[in-house]
Every structure is written in structure tokens, then in C-alpha cells.
């Protein structure tokens, strides 16, 4: 028509420039996708990510001392804890007035329990003194220093006050230090006494046993994945059912199966005794220890190794192996130099998956692990439901989660989360 339309921007049907119109369409498409995702994303964020985040903040939160003894904490700040002298009368007076309020609200025993995590004896000190301090009147009954020391000599020890001062901060690294077998002291972080160092060992054991489980899963899964990938479809589908059946079976069923098999009067021991291979008196101890946990968890996690390996091996052309052999490679060389390198992605995917799952396992170690075969998860559960040391549980959980998320990140980099396959 005319030259002007040629130089101007290309227009869409409604007269807007095409570029803007396309951008708008793209934006609308993005919005629609996000609207579809939004309900679920919000649900997961609010009821999963947020609660975990909030729980993890408990690992550094330490308001209880500062909230229960507000006046004392202020007075203690002025006290030089390194001097070796007891704090002055002002601290004792502040302490009594704080305690009277706390006893009224029945909060002093909770404080005692909190401080008891750090040094034993604090709980009983607070509980016992509580009854007598209750009768004191902060306004008239002073001076309190000698009265308190008379009530319990614990109050006449510098250590008690140093302990209170050390843990009076609102944000503490104390739980994390506890989680790695150290403790917060006025002199900074120090190692726990020998007999209390259990957690590092437990972390080590969790990692070590997860590695063994992952290793044995690799060993057992590799041949199975190979044969599934190389047999004719019909046969391999039949065999796949044997892999998927345990995968679909309830975890508790499989754990109880191992209990039936491994216990002292269990199936394996009975067979061995019947065959005369072991003596009736020295039955094998295979349960309530590490062996039990490793065997049962290898069995439970094996399908998680076989499935990713299988899906990788399916894509490896069998002709490569034949080509290698025709060019003079021995069986072993052909496998090791040609097939194995191609199957590594499957091993990697399976290993990370199995390792992530095993490191946080709780149920199976709890049932077949006894005391020697438990994982860090069992310790977290113990602190949440029995010792009620939630701060320490949160700190242990934070460390465990950090390890798992690191592995999750690796998994995403190597395999991509979209490529996870089920069944």
C-alpha cells in the first residue's frame, strides 16, 4: 500500500505492535502457569518449609534465661565472671525478685531443666530452692546473699552464676556446640567431658553405616539392573515385578519380616541349627545391632538403587560391547572401559538417592537396630519426645538437614529432579 506502514512496527490484529502483543501473551501464559502452581506452592511453603524453618530456629533460640530472670541477667552483666569472686548482693536481690515472680508462674523448674542440659544438678537446685525462696519477700527480707547460700550451697558457688551468665544470651550457639560434643563456657567453646561425647560418634556411625548400605546396594543392584536391561522385554517385565513387589510393600511389613528372619529364635538361626552348622547355644546375634540395621535397610532401599540403574542401562546399546570385543577387547576390558563408564550416571543417581534416604532413616533402625545400630534420627526423636531438649534436637536436625540438602543439590546437578522416576 504505502511506504509508511513498511517502516512502522509490525501490528497485531487489534492494532497494537506485535512485539508488545506477544509479550503480553507470554506474560499472561506465565501468570496462568503460576496461578496453577500457586495453591500447592503456598500449601507446601506454609505447612512444610515454614514449620521446618521455624523448628530449626529453636537451635539458636535461648530466651528462657533472659525471660525468666530479667533483672538478674542485667545485674550479672556487670559482674566479672573471671574474678573468682561471688557476685554482689545486688545480683542475689535481683535473683530473688525474679524467682518469686517465676515461682508464681511455675516457670522456675523449666529454667532448671534448661540449665540442667548444660550442667547436671541445676534442675534439682532450682526445684529445691524454689520451695524456700517462695516464702521470701523481695522488698523486706534482704540481704539475700547469705540467706540463699543457706538455702542451698549451690548458690554460693561461682560456677552456678557463671553458668547462668553464660546461658543468658538470647541467641546461643550452645545447642550447636552440644551437637558436636562441645559446650558453651565462659571461656568460649570447649570439648565436652569424655563420657558425654556421644554425638560425633553417632554422626560418624550414621554416615559410615549409610555408606555401607549404599555400597552393598550398588553391589547387589548392578547385576540385577544389568540383567533386567539385557533380557528380552517380556522376561524382564516379569522379573521387574520381583523388584517392585518389595518396593510397594509396606515398610513395616518388610521390617517385621527381617525381625522374623534375624532374631535369635528366627528363621535363619533355626535353619542353621537344624543343619547343624551352628550350635544351639551359640545362635548368631543378627538383630538389635548394626548387622541387623545394615541387612534390613539394604533390602528396603535396594529397589531405589535398581530402578535408576535400570533406566540408565536400558539406554546403553549392547552393540557397543560387541564392537569393543570385535576390536580385540577381552570381556573384562570391554565391560570396564566401554559399558561401565556409561552406567556411572545410574550408579550416581541411585547412590545419592539411597544415601539421602538412609541417612535420615528412623523406623527400621528403631526396630531392628537395638542400641548399637541406631542413627542420628533416633537421637533426634529421643530428644523431642523423651528428654525434651528441643534446642539440641533442632541443632542435630539442622546439621542432618544441611547434609541432606547438600546431597539433594548434588542430585539435582547430576540427575535433575525432574528425572526422578518411580516404578
Amino acid at each position: 500500500m504505502s511506504d509508511t506502514t513498511d517502516t512502522g512496527p509490525v501490528l497485531a490484529a487489534d492494532g497494537t505492535p506485535l512485539k508488545r502483543s506477544l509479550n503480553r501473551a507470554l506474560r499472561r501464559q506465565k501468570m496462568r502457569a503460576l496461578m496453577l502452581i500457586a495453591p500447592l506452592l503456598l500449601f507446601v511453603l506454609l505447612s512444610f518449609i515454614l514449620p521446618i524453618g521455624k523448628m530449626l530456629t529453636r537451635s539458636v533460640q535461648n530466651d528462657i534465661v533472659a525471660d525468666t530472670l530479667p533483672l538478674t541477667v542485667v545485674e550479672l552483666n556487670a559482674w566479672d565472671s573471671d574474678s573468682g569472686d561471688l557476685p554482689g548482693e545486688n545480683v542475689y536481690a535481683a535473683f530473688v525478685s525474679d524467682m518469686v515472680v517465676a515461682i508464681e508462674d511455675k516457670k522456675h523448674t523449666r529454667l532448671g531443666t534448661r540449665l540442667n542440659y548444660e550442667s547436671t544438678g541445676m534442675s534439682s537446685l532450682f526445684r529445691k530452692s524454689g520451695r524456700k525462696i517462695k516464702k521470701l519477700d523481695p522488698a523486706t527480707d534482704g540481704p539475700f546473699k547469705d540467706t540463699l547460700i543457706e538455702i542451698s550451697e549451690g548458690w554460693g558457688k561461682v560456677e552456678t552464676w557463671r553458668e547462668i551468665k553464660t546461658h543468658s544470651v538470647r541467641t546461643t550457639n550452645g545447642y550447636f556446640l552440644n551437637a558436636i560434643d562441645m559446650r558453651r563456657t565462659p571461656e568460649g567453646a570447649q570439648a565436652q567431658p569424655e563420657d558425654k561425647r556421644v554425638l560425633i560418634k553417632l554422626f560418624g556411625r550414621t554416615l559410615w553405616m549409610s555408606l555401607i548400605i549404599t555400597g552393598s546396594c550398588i553391589l547387589l543392584a548392578y547385576p540385577v539392573a544389568w540383567i533386567l536391561a539385557n533380557l528380552p522385554m517380556r522376561t524382564s517385565n516379569m522379573l521387574m515385578i520381583l523388584v517392585l513387589l518389595p518396593f510397594w510393600t509396606s515398610l513395616l511389613v518388610r521390617t517385621s519380616a527381617w525381625k522374623v528372619l534375624l532374631q535369635q529364635q528366627g528363621v535363619i538361626n533355626e535353619i542353621l541349627v537344624w543343619l547343624g552348622m551352628i550350635d544351639d547355644a551359640n545362635r548368631l546375634v543378627m538383630i538389635n545391632n548394626q548387622t541387623g540395621t545394615i541387612i534390613a535397610m539394604t533390602h528396603i532401599l535396594l529397589p531405589f538403587m535398581i530402578l535408576p540403574m535400570y533406566s540408565v542401562m536400558q539406554t546403553i546399546q549392547p552393540t557397543y560391547l560387541r564392537a569393543a570385543k570385535s576390536m580385540g577387547a577381552t570381556n573384562w576390558t570391554a565391560f570396564w572401559r566401554v559399558y561401565f563408564p556409561q552406567s556411572i550416571p545410574g550408579i550416581g543417581a541411585g547412590s545419592i538417592l539411597v544415601f539421602i534416604l538412609s541417612i535420615g532413616y528412623y523406623i527400621t533402625p528403631e526396630i531392628v537396630g537395638g542400641t548399637k545400630g541406631v542413627f542420628i534420627s533416633n537421637r533426634i526423636a529421643y530428644h523431642i519426645s523423651y528428654s525434651l531438649n528441643w534446642g539440641l534436637a533442632a541443632a542435630l536436625g539442622a546439621i542432618l538437614l544441611a547434609v541432606v540438602l547438600l546431597l539433594y543439590w548434588c542430585y539435582d546437578k547430576i540427575v535433575g529432579i525432574d528425572n526422578v522416576k518411580l516404578g
Binding site: T249, S250, V267
Partner: protein, 410 residues
């Protein structure tokens, strides 16, 4: 008779080869068995030699008199049945008959080189040997995978209140068997209540995760989604985060929510308990729905929705009439995964729920930790049957889905 007929594959049959191979096969288990049971070396030696020699001798006698496999299998089977019957009773007899017939089969299989029938002709002897060794290894691993379930099922019919086999059970005496543990499961209030709780919680949790999850999966599979990777990582995280950490987080969160619902909104304690557990389980099931549905959507042809829109369907109609029927298999199998996750879940319900929400796995867990009752095994058997049904459904759905999407069924 001709001692050296030509076997299959042009290889001459050789008595020496067959017998020495057989001796080797018999020797290994006998050696292991012998070394762990014998009190003295002489006794051990005698045992091993005696067993090997008698089996090899028998094979020799058989091979030199009978040319064909079937009569040899029949004779050996009957002979071992009689031996087993007199030594161990009926079951032992049947077991030994199978072993004997199979042994005879192996002998002839070796002798006539039938092991070469199913492998490529160019393989060397070592490769053939490795081929079969490898199959045996794989067989053992499959055995490891599946066999632990057998004693559970077997023991669930125990007439005694033990977790172990009684002599009556081993003799297959009907006296040793009963259905009383099943009866206990179906009549005991505690078990029935927990079963009912599981049947309330799991389906509702599944519906929530499937409906939200399917929508999100459709959103995620669109071509332009900002931050797709991060969103995916968040949505899959419930599967990755250790259950104990999820459980602790939810424990604090849902106790606050519970207080709010009970205190401020005045809802019943029981109802609030169920809501808490259901929501917690719904989150855990979401990754499975997302994974399976996005996998199905990979093969979805988006021009179908455009075609539907072109012909005047609104988005809702398009979704239900065009998209949904095509991705339904993926949605259902995701739903089954979500269902089994909730139905099998212990840790979270242990932390979030209260005694009135006790589910079946919870009841089993306490049973396994504290009082060991064989009812657990009856429940386990029922669950195994259920998982077989679920597995079959998922497998059928997968095939249907691949057929619908025009892939060849695998």
C-alpha cells in the same frame, strides 16, 4: 550302547566332563556345609567325599543306562521321594523329589551340552560358564529381595502365639495352622480402630495431594514458567527431607494450628486431630503426584488443547474433556503412590497425631517395639496382598498410558 554320541552344537558328549563338572557343583555346597558341621577333619573329609562320590556314582550309572532325560528324571524323582518320605515325612519327600528330578535334569543338561542351546554360538566356554554363574548370582539377589516376605505370610497362619515356626507347622500338620490371628485382627477393637483411621486419613490426604498436585504439575509443564527449577525443588522436598525432621517441624506447627482451631474456632478435639494428620500426610504425598503427573505430561501434545479451544471449548471443558482423560493414568498412579505413602506412614503421625488418630502402621510399630503379637504378621500379609493389587493396577495403568500416548507398550 554308544558312549560318545554327538550332542548338540557338534560337541561330543564326554562322561569325564559331565562327571567332573557335576562333582564340582556338588562339592562346593557340601564343602561349605561339611566344614561348618564337622567335629574332626577325618569326619569332615569322609562326609564330603561320601556325598560327592555317591552323587557322581549315581549320575554315572544313570547316564550309562538311560539315554533320554525324562525317564531318568522320573526314576530319580520317585527314588528321592521315597527316601525323603521315610526320613522326613511327606513334605520332605516332596521337597527331595523336586530336588532329585531337578538334579537329574541338570546332569543330562550338562551331558548333552544343552546349556549351549540358548546362548550365542560364538561364545567361548568361559563366557558360557560366566553367563550361567551370573544368572545364579542374579537369582540369589532376587531371592534376597522377595524371600523375606515368605516366612511372614507363612507364620501369619501360626496356631501358636509365637513369631517362630512350630514343629507342627514344619510337618504341615493342619493342627499347627489357624486363622486366629486374622480373626484377632478383624475382631480386636484396637486393630479395627486403627485400620478405620488409616482408611479415613489416607484417602482424604490422597485427594488433597492429587487435586493440588495435578494442577501444579499442569502449571509446571507449561513452556514458560519462571523459576521452574526452584519451584520443583521445593515441591519435591517433602520426599527428600528426612522424615524425622519433617515430623518435628510439623509437630510444633500443627500443635499451634490445633490450639488455634480448638481454642479460637471451637472445633472438636477429634476433628482437629484428623485435620492435622490429613494435612501433614497430604504434603508428604505431593512429590509422588508431581513426579508421576509431570512424567505423563511430557508426552502430552499441547496442540490438542489449542484445537479444543479453537472449536469453542472453554478452559474448564478442555481440561476435563481433553487433557484429563489423557493424563488420567499418571494421575491415578500418582494418587496410588500418595495413598501408599500415607497408608504406610508412621513417623509423622506419631508426632502430629494423638491416640485417637492411631493408624495401622502406628499400631504395628508399637506392636513391633513392645508386645510382639503374631497379629502383626496377619496384618502384614493383608498389606502384602494389598500392595500386590496396587502394583498390578499401577502396571496396567502405565501400559494404558503408554498406549494412549502412542508409545509401544513396554
Amino acid at each position: 550302547m554308544n558312549m560318545n554320541p554327538i550332542g548338540a552344537h557338534g560337541l561330543k558328549t564326554s562322561m569325564a566332563f559331565t562327571l567332573s563338572a557335576l562333582a564340582l557343583i556338588v562339592f562346593i555346597p557340601t564343602f561349605v556345609f561339611g566344614i561348618s558341621t564337622a567335629q574332626s577333619f577325618a569326619l569332615f573329609f569322609l562326609k564330603v567325599v561320601l556325598i560327592c562320590a555317591s552323587i557322581v556314582g549315581y549320575a554315572f550309572a544313570m547316564l550309562s543306562t538311560l539315554d533320554t532325560k525324562r525317564p531318568a528324571m522320573a526314576i530319580t524323582g520317585v527314588a528321592s521321594f521315597l527316601a525323603g518320605l521315610s526320613l522326613f515325612g511327606l513334605v520332605g519327600g516332596i521337597f527331595l523329589a523336586v530336588v532329585g528330578a531337578f538334579g537329574a535334569h541338570i546332569v543330562y543338561w550338562l551331558h548333552y551340552r544343552q546349556y549351549r542351546d540358548k546362548v550365542a554360538t560364538y561364545l567361548t566356554s568361559e563366557q558360557v560358564l560366566w553367563h550361567y554363574t551370573f544368572r545364579v548370582i542374579c537369582g540369589l539377589i532376587f531371592f534376597f529381595l522377595v524371600s523375606p516376605l515368605v516366612p511372614v505370610i507363612w507364620l501369619s497362619f501360626n496356631a501358636e502365639n509365637f513369631f517362630t515356626f512350630t514343629p507342627e507347622m514344619l510337618r504341615f500338620d493342619p493342627e499347627g495352622y489357624s486363622l486366629k490371628h486374622y480373626q484377632d485382627f478383624f475382631t480386636n477393637n484396637e486393630w479395627q480402630r486403627s485400620f478405620k483411621n488409616s482408611l479415613i486419613i489416607a484417602p482424604i490426604a490422597t485427594i488433597i495431594s492429587v487435586s493440588l498436585g495435578t494442577l501444579a504439575a499442569i502449571g509446571l509443564s507449561q513452556s514458560h514458567v519462571p523459576g521452574r527449577r526452584a519451584i520443583m525443588a521445593i515441591l519435591i522436598s517433602p520426599m527428600i527431607v528426612p522424615l524425622i525432621i519433617s515430623a518435628t517441624g510439623m509437630f510444633f506447627f500443627y500443635s499451634d494450628i490445633g490450639n488455634f482451631l480448638e481454642g479460637t474456632l471451637g472445633m472438636g478435639k477429634n476433628l482437629v486431630g484428623y485435620i492435622k494428620v490429613i494435612l501433614a500426610h497430604a504434603v508428604l504425598g505431593i512429590p509422588f503426584v508431581i513426579i508421576t503427573v509431570t512424567a505423563t505430561l511430557v508426552g502430552f501434545d499441547n496442540s490438542l488443547t489449542r484445537a479444543a479451544a479453537n472449536m469453542g471449548a472453554n478452559p474448564v471443558t478442555t481440561f476435563f474433556r481433553v487433557q484429563m482423560p489423557l493424563i488420567l493414568p499418571g494421575v491415578i498412579s500418582g494418587g496410588l503412590f500418595a495413598f501408599i505413602t500415607s497408608f504406610d506412614e508412621v513417623v509423622v503421625v506419631l508426632f502430629v497425631g494423638s491416640a485417637s488418630q492411631k493408624t495401622l502402621p502406628w499400631q504395628m510399630f508399637t506392636g513391633l517395639r513392645e508386645q510382639i503379637s503374631p497379629t502383626i504378621l496377619a496384618v502384614a500379609t493383608i498389606l502384602v496382598v494389598m500392595s500386590i493389587l496396587l502394583l498390578t493396577t499401577v502396571e496396567l495403568l502405565r501400559r494404558r498410558s503408554e498406549r494412549l500416548r502412542g508409545m509401544s507398550p513396554a
